[in-house]
């Protein structure tokens, strides 16, 4: 390194040249031609502009143009004076560094002047005409993944894309054609985009349009400085949208975005969500709306820039004003902090279109679509800048991503080296960003009848990564891209086909058309979109949403008013019950019960309990329908499944315990063990409808015990031990044992379900098919009417449409949380006591019967809460409790009627034996003992069959064999008697001394 080298200009200062006018292309070429043979190892780390090789080639190909002549002259003129001072100063500083080029600036072009050329101190101001802050900002800003183009501020991006198809310029990063055709080349913008005011008279138009970027930036600046909520209110009024009345006139006068920017500063956020409708409603900015929609690639970075400028300005102003937290050094620190940050504007608020409606003309425009996330890749490190080093001369080059591709330099760009195929990627010097690819599928409601759903790919970057998970419904705003497909990545042949995807700028989680999930079951803010804060747009963020007064809210307000109106109707309860499955005939009480189930009681947790807020008492109401076949139980279930929040429908026959709870599988992609949720877990916060409940296997049903009281599902499989939440209401339907209900048998004998499970249902309805001439006639008319020409009329009275009913329930579930009033609790106590004492106070018998247990009390509380919720009432009142009790009585009366006594007996449900039955057993036992003690049987015992026969002779009712053996078993357990022998030869013997 000691020998004074001949200097040539492999990396001549591009910025410098461009500013002087002619393109740089010729320069290198020229310097090559005039330079003497290169010296070995002259500049080990000489950085070079990424596009150098292309330039060379380009220069060769256009050598004949007059331009090259100018270039040549320039190059000559430049090279001569500079050579001299460099020589002596050169050697010492640069050699120890392996890659000396990397440190100061990221943009390859500009790096040139700095450390490797210490001899050029005077050239630096030329290379960096703008302030250091701006220079710093520029490379960072360029990394914004969603906008995707490093040169997005300038026409270059569009042009270079075109260049891709030009074979000659194929691997040229920044096609030189740009510079030739547009004299105002890209470089100046890059070097000073932060200070647009520096060059006010410069024309910066979006290529191919009349849109002036400087004007656009000015407009946006005005918008951020001038937009007030009152404009939005005016706009909404014009569009005939209902607006939320402003609380005070002052509220409409707040400069909204300045408030937001202050909040961004305070919270350290970097994203500003921009409701595009606000742009539209601010009169001077109407144009900006269209521009943003059409040229997001250019306008969004410009907006980012303005945002940052304004952040600084505002911080400065606040510091001047001595605002709290912005005084003195603290303020300086804040400002320095802001300088180092990258701010991003995330526009949203366009009307979402169906993904089928996207067409090629939307390419590179800002669009918004809705869908269901079906798959999301893990985070992919997305290379933003690749760092290459020449294996021969250790020359390093950085290449930026362009249209999703990085072109590997085919040869060392340094002219003295020029080796082919020696550039190797140095991974740890490359820059990466987070990226995730998401597949978005059409939601069922958007798919045309009879078609299968389409899917579209989304690319999300940085903060938006991992915001949505598979299964989420989202509304995304993004730039629609179409990129040509190559037949083979290694070949130059292309297909005339294009692949399309969306570069997402904004994600919004949404809920579908049916009821949302029960929000009280979610941790606060758990589903919130991270990184978007500052200016809330997530649906959960009520308070902020009100401030922003966006379209969703106004529509919401309208709906809200309608629902509240509805809630004032005096016949509300009947109307809602009628609207539930309007086609199903009669069964009013069943419908009312299910209606209350949909509303649900409030979930209570005792805050002072153990960790995590203590135990939680379920507010979910479980309903069981038992009845004859053909009584439209399944239809009710299907209906509820359709409107219920997170409704899941399972048929007992088709479900296994595994299908209901959760099971462990291997993920096909990652080969890792994953838990897949079954119906119960999936319906967490919703309603799980289980048909054919009786046909379920015992193992499956046993799972339900845990679910219905603890509301969790425990899994211990394949090394995964966990408890999943299954806070779900269960609506089940079952057939009686012999498929037809036998009214002569108690209900527990009719339903083949363990009493422990039955008692977990708050309401149990018997849906019986009774023979009744008028009813039959009506039914027959209805059925035959189906085949007549005119469509049958179903009642004809007014019913709520499905979506309104669903909206009503949803609203009530989210917003109404009634608490018990003292009056109501007194009534509850009284009702409970009276329910319990029904049996006891019966004068005709002194037998004690259990009519209601605490479970029923809890049920009553839940039902009354649900009823209050339905009325949109904040307190549970007397009428709620009364209706709850009535429903309970109705349900109990039919289900807990002891067929022998005709009395309500909850013991039937809880223990499986009714009082009447128990009395009969006692009688049987007494008789048996007398038989054994006295008479012939003494000592020798009594034959089984004979005992039964003798009992039957004595009794007025038939002796049930099963009952008899139950009695014997019980007595055997007590040690009163023993049974010897098998089957028919069984002999009952009295145990002596007992």
């Amino acid at each position: 390194m000691s020998s004074p080298p001949r200097v040539d200009f492999p990396t001549s200062d591009i910025d410098d040249i461009e500013m002087d006018g002619p393109p740089q292309d010729g320069t290198i070429d020229q310097s090559l031609s005039i330079a003497p043979p290169p010296q070995r190892l002259f500049l080990p780390g000489t950085p070079s502009a990424a596009g150098t090789p292309a330039r060379q080639r380009y220069a060769n190909s256009v050598a004949a143009t007059p331009m090259s002549g100018i270039a040549a002259r320039r190059a000559l003129g430049m090279s001569t004076p500079r050579r001299a001072p460099r020589t002596p100063l050169f050697a010492p500083g640069s050699s120890p560094l392996a890659f000396p080029s990397s440190s100061p600036a990221k943009t390859p072009r500009r790096r040139v002047a700095i450390d490797s050329d210490p001899a050029f101190p005077d050239s630096e101001p030329l290379a960096f005409p703008s302030s250091p802050a701006a220079a710093l900002a520029t490379p960072i800003k360029n990394r914004r993944g969603d906008i995707h183009s490093s040169l997005s501020l300038t026409p270059t991006a569009r042009r270079s894309r075109r260049g891709d198809y030009n074979n000659d310029l194929n691997d040229n990063l920044n096609s030189d054609g740009t510079h030739l055709s547009i004299p105002a080349s890209s470089a100046p913008h890059l070097s000073a985009p932060a200070a647009p005011s520096d060059e006010p008279d410069e024309i910066r138009a979006i290529w191919g349009t009349t849109v002036n970027l400087a004007e656009t930036m000015k407009l946006f600046r005005d918008f951020l400085r001038g937009f007030k909520p009152k404009y939005r209110a005016i706009h909404d009024r014009q569009e005939n949208l209902r607006t939320r009345p402003l609380a005070t006139p002052d509220e409409g006068e707040v400069v909204l975005y300045e408030t937001y920017m202050r909040r961004i500063r305070q919270t350290g956020e970097t994203n500003l969500n921009l409701d595009m409708v606000n742009l539209l409603s601010y009169p001077p900015c109407k144009k900006l709306f269209a521009q943003l929609q059409k040229y997001p690639q250019e306008v969004v970075p410009a907006m980012d820039q303005i945002l940052k400028d304004l952040m600084l300005e505002l911080a400065d102003e606040d510091q001047q004003a001595g605002m709290d937290g912005m005084q003195g050094d603290q303020g300086d620190e804040e400002i320095a902090d802001i300088m180092g940050k990258v701010y991003k504007v995330r526009p949203f608020g366009l009307t979402a279109v169906n993904m089928r409606e996207l067409n090629p003309s939307d390419t590179d425009k800002l669009i918004s679509i809705k869908g269901l996330v079906i798959r999301a890749t893990p985070v992919i490190p997305d290379m933003k800048v690749a760092f290459f080093r020449c294996l021969t001369c250790s020359h390093t080059v950085q290449v930026e991503i362009d249209r999703g591709k990085i072109e590997e330099p085919a040869r060392c760009p340094r002219d003295v080296c020029g080796s082919v195929g020696t550039m190797s990627l140095v991974h740890n010097r490359c820059e990466f960003a987070d990226r995730q690819v998401i597949r978005l599928q059409e939601t069922p409601d958007a798919v045309p009848d009879g078609q299968t759903p389409h899917t579209v790919s989304l690319s999300v970057y940085d903060e938006l990564v991992d915001v949505c998970k598979p299964g989420d419904r989202v509304v995304v705003t993004g730039i629609y891209r179409s990129v040509p497909v190559r037949v083979n990545p290694r070949q130059r042949t292309m297909k005339s086909l294009f692949k399309t995807y969306l570069d997402v700028v904004h994600v919004r989680l949404s809920v579908g058309g049916t009821l949302g999930l029960d929000r009280s079951t979610r941790p606060a803010g758990g589903d919130k979109v991270p990184g978007i804060g500052g200016v809330g747009d997530s649906a959960d963020d009520q308070e902020l949403e009100e401030q922003i007064a966006q379209g969703g809210l106004t529509r919401k307000a309208e709906l809200e008013a309608k629902l509240i109106n509805l809630s004032r109707r005096h016949d509300l309860y009947d109307l809602l019950a009628r609207s539930l499955a309007p086609s199903i005939w009669e069964m009013d009480d069943v419908k009312k019960g299910i209606l209350l189930q949909l509303f649900g009681g409030t979930n209570k947790s005792i805050a002072r309990g153990g960790g995590g807020g203590g135990p939680r008492y379920r507010g979910d109401i479980n309903v069981l329908l038992v009845g004859d076949p053909g009584t439209s139980k399944s239809q009710i279930l299907q209906y509820v499944h359709k409107i219920a929040p997170r409704g899941v429908y399972a048929s007992g026959k088709g479900s296994s315990a595994v299908g209901l709870t959760a099971y462990v599988t291997r993920d096909p992609d990652s080969k890792q063990l994953v838990l897949e949720s079954g119906a119960l877990v999936l319906s967490d916060g919703g309603v799980c409808c289980i048909d054919e409940f009786d046909k379920m296997s015992d193992a499956t049903r046993s799972v339900l015990h845990e679910v219905m009281e603890q509301q969790t599902v425990s899994i211990a499989k394949a090394g995964i031990i966990t408890t999943l939440n299954a806070r779900t209401s269960i609506l089940a339907a079952a057939n009686p044992v012999e498929s037809k209900y036998n009214v002569d048998l108690p209900i527990t004998r009719n339903i083949d379900l363990p009493p422990t499970l039955i008692s977990r249902f708050d309401l149990l309805y018997l849906v019986l098919d009774q023979v009744d001439e008028t009813l039959d006639r009506k039914l027959a008319q209805h059925l035959v009417g189906l085949y007549l020409e005119d469509a049958p009329s179903t009642g004809g009275y007014d019913v709520l449409p499905l979506d309104e009913l669903s909206a009503y329930i949803d609203y009530a579930r989210t917003n109404i949380h009634p608490v018990l009033s003292s009056e109501a609790s007194d009534e509850l106590v009284a009702s409970y006591v009276s329910l319990r004492s029904i049996g006891a106070s019966d004068p005709r018998s002194s037998e004690k019967r259990i009519t209601a247990t605490t479970r029923q009390l809890e049920s009553m509380i839940r039902l009354s809460e649900a009823h209050a919720r339905m009325r949109f009432a904040a307190h549970v009142e007397l009428q709620d409790v009364q209706e709850a009790c009535r429903l309970m009585r109705e349900a109990i009366r039919t289900s807990a009627m002891d067929p022998r006594t005709g009395k309500i007996d909850m013991g039937l449900l809880n223990t499986g034996t009714g009082v009447g039955q128990r009395k009969m057993r006692d009688d049987m036992r007494r008789e048996l003992l007398t038989m054994l003690d006295g008479g012939a049987g003494k000592g020798k015992g009594l034959k089984w069959g004979e005992a039964m026969k003798r009992l039957a002779d004595q009794s007025s009712i038939r002796v049930d064999a099963a009952e008899f053996s139950e009695v014997i078993k019980a007595m055997e357990n007590e040690g009163v008697l023993t049974v010897v022998g098998e089957r028919d030869k069984r002999v009952i013997r009295r145990v002596e001394g007992a």
């Binding site: 075109r162 198809y165 030009n166 074979n167 194929n170 090629p360 003309s361 390419t363 269901l372 079906i374 798959r375 599928q441 798919v447 045309p448 009848d449 009879g450 078609q451 299968t452 759903p453 389409h454 899917t455 579209v456 598979p470 179409s482 497909v485 990545p489 130059r492 042949t493 292309m494 005339s496 086909l497 294009f498 692949k499 399309t500 086609s583 005939w585 004859d628 053909g630 439209s632 239809q635 359709k642 026959k653 088709g654 296994s656 037809k740 098919d769 023979v771 001439e773 039959d776 006639r777 027959a780 008319q781 059925l783 035959v784 189906l786 085949y787 007549l788 469509a791 179903t794 499905l802």
Partner: protein, 541 residues
């Protein structure tokens, strides 16, 4: 008369497209419609011209055609979920870009600059040979008897064909006329005419298999109703019943009569309007009624001890009568391993047995079932079949969502024993074979006395006519009063009669009317159907 257009189009369709393009230059938006109209005019107006085009089928597999030759493909749309494809509609030098013309051209021929306005979309979907299309129907459509080289090569993407391991053709279809393509639904039967090429399945993936692709010039959806005279067919009914009973059902005419009733069933227009309302399936009626009998024919302890691996004779008879017919030989192995309902795995819709076109008849035979264990998949399969029987809907599973598709499938279950082991069928008809004809239930095909082709043709058109009639059968006012009274009276006599019985009987009456090619349920027909049902009930043990 064979027009010059026709010959041109058959010989070099690409050239015709290019010529059209030059004629209509400057109007790229409308160009696909122009192409579709031109080729429809040439080919689709009569069957004769249509038949000039070489068919693509199992006997004429894609490999047997030259690159970019014109073919017609009678197919079922299996999957419409693939994303539309974007292509450059206009290339250099006024060249047309669609219809695969610009495939794999060297980049040097690429336009150095292009306008995003020239990007157009083509609908892409997957179509397969119509599953269950019977031989006579194929022949009728092909109208060419020369046997091509039947290739043993397995078709690509076999999971997209409903019947596993069956020979078929699967083709990626690209339709450039988007508006027309939008109306195509899964399981529609469509005749496509287009240029056959071979392309990689997923243009975005690096390594994706090459599949045959059809660039459609024009297409036609098969319509069900082609009116043919019904009068002279009225007498055919008895002959048909006699033939079926003698040849396939051991001389049991009652069973044959039930069979004919079931074969005349389809989802009627009326229940259509009720059932197909999304989200609110039951706003208008107590219960949607698919008009199927859900027939199961039971051989009561006919062959209790040995199983018949062979196909029942009924299979041969039905495949001679019906255009689309499929036998599903149920066995535990099949139930546990194959899928019955379509499922999307990795964004690829895998087909299942039940993904068949509307109007297909399924014969489920249970005689191959042995003892063993039914795993979860088997249970789900049985549920899917039951769902089709009960509600005529089939669920397609997609990640995080299920889509219910309307079907129109006649199901007949053939079982040993008293009733079907797996399915709840609406009607059970125990077979009573005549001793002399006892063995004919499983006789091979060559022992069937097939009537002459003319007779067979009348049988076929009779069944088609009955199906058509069924949609328009109505219940007269007077009859409906009669039925109501009848029901009330019966219920008082026997409380075990439920509404379901009435619904079933109503179905029988309507089917009976249809199979007599009548338009109305009269009191006579009501009484006859009651008798018919009574005679069936008598056989039930």
């Amino acid at each position: 008369m064979v027009s010059a257009f026709l010959i041109d189009a058959i010989n070099d369709p690409t050239k015709v497209v290019q010529e059209l393009y030059e004629e209509h230059t400057g109007d790229i938006d409308q160009f696909p419609t122009v192409v579709a109209r031109h080729f429809s005019d040439v080919f689709l107006h009569s069957d004769d011209t249509l038949r000039e085009v070489l068919p693509l089928d199992v006997n004429h597999p894609p490999e047997s055609f030259a690159h970019r030759s014109l073919v017609r493909f009678h197919a079922m749309v299996q999957d419409t979920s693939s994303s539309p494809e974007m292509y450059l509609a206009s290339l250099n030098k006024n060249k047309c870009g669609g219809w695969g013309i610009s495939q794999n051209m060297p980049a040097s021929e690429w336009p150095s600059s292009f306008d995003y306005c020239d990007l157009k979309e083509a609908t892409a979907l997957w179509a397969v040979t119509v599953p269950g299309q019977t031989d006579w129907r194929t022949e009728e459509l092909t109208a060419r008897s020369h046997c091509g080289s039947s290739s043993s090569q397995s078709p690509p993407q076999p999971h997209k064909y409903p019947v596993p391991n069956a020979p078929h053709i699967g083709v990626q279809v690209k339709i450039y006329d988007n508006e027309a393509a939008q109306s195509l639904k899964a399981t529609d039967i469509v005749t496509f005419i287009g240029i056959l090429t071979s392309e990689s399945l997923d243009s975005e993936a690096v390594s994706s298999p090459m599949v045959p692709s059809l660039h459609v010039l024009c297409h036609k959806v098969q319509s069900i109703d082609d009116a043919s005279p019904t009068e002279e067919l009225a007498t055919v009914r008895d002959d048909l019943i006699k033939w079926i009973s003698d040849e396939a059902l051991g001389g049991d005419e009652v069973a044959a009569q039930w069979l004919v009733l079931e074969l005349s069933a389809k989802v009627s227009v009326f229940s259509l309007s009720i059932k197909r309302i999304r989200l609110i399936p039951d706003t208008a009626t107590l219960e949607p009624h698919p008009s199927y009998l859900r027939l199961s024919l039971c051989h009561v302890f006919l062959h209790p001890h040995h199983h018949h691996p062979a196909l029942p004779t009924l299979h041969h008879v039905l495949s001679d009568l019906l255009p689309q017919y499929l036998t599903v030989p149920l066995s535990l192995d099949l139930l546990n391993k194959e899928s019955f309902s379509p499922e999307s795995k990795d964004e690829d819709l895998h087909s299942g047995y039940l993904q068949v076109p509307q109007g297909t008849t399924l014969l489920l035979t249970e005689n191959g079932v042995q003892e063993g264990k039914l795993v979860e998949k088997g249970i789900m399969n049985i549920r899917a079949v039951q769902e089709v029987m009960d509600a005529q809907t089939l669920e397609y599973s997609f990640p995080f969502s299920k889509f219910s598709f309307p079907t129109d499938i006649v199901t007949i279950v053939l079982c040993d024993g008293r009733k079907s082991a797996f399915f709840q069928t609406g009607f059970i008809v125990p077979l009573k074979t005549k001793p002399s004809l006892k063995d004919n239930l499983y006789k091979p095909r060559d022992q069937i006395r097939t009537p002459d082709t003319v007779k067979l043709a009348t049988y076929r058109s009779f069944l088609a006519a009955a199906k058509r009639c069924f949609g328009s059968v109505q219940v007269a006012e007077e009859t409906s009063r009669h039925i109501q009274e009848d029901f009330v009276r019966q219920r008082q006599e026997d409380p075990s009669i439920t509404a379901d019985d009435l619904i079933h009987l109503m179905k029988v009456a309507r089917l009976l009317a249809a199979s007599m090619l009548g338009r109305e349920v009269t009191v006579d027909i009501w009484e006859t159907s009651k008798k018919l049902d009574a005679s069936r009930r008598k056989r039930l043990p």
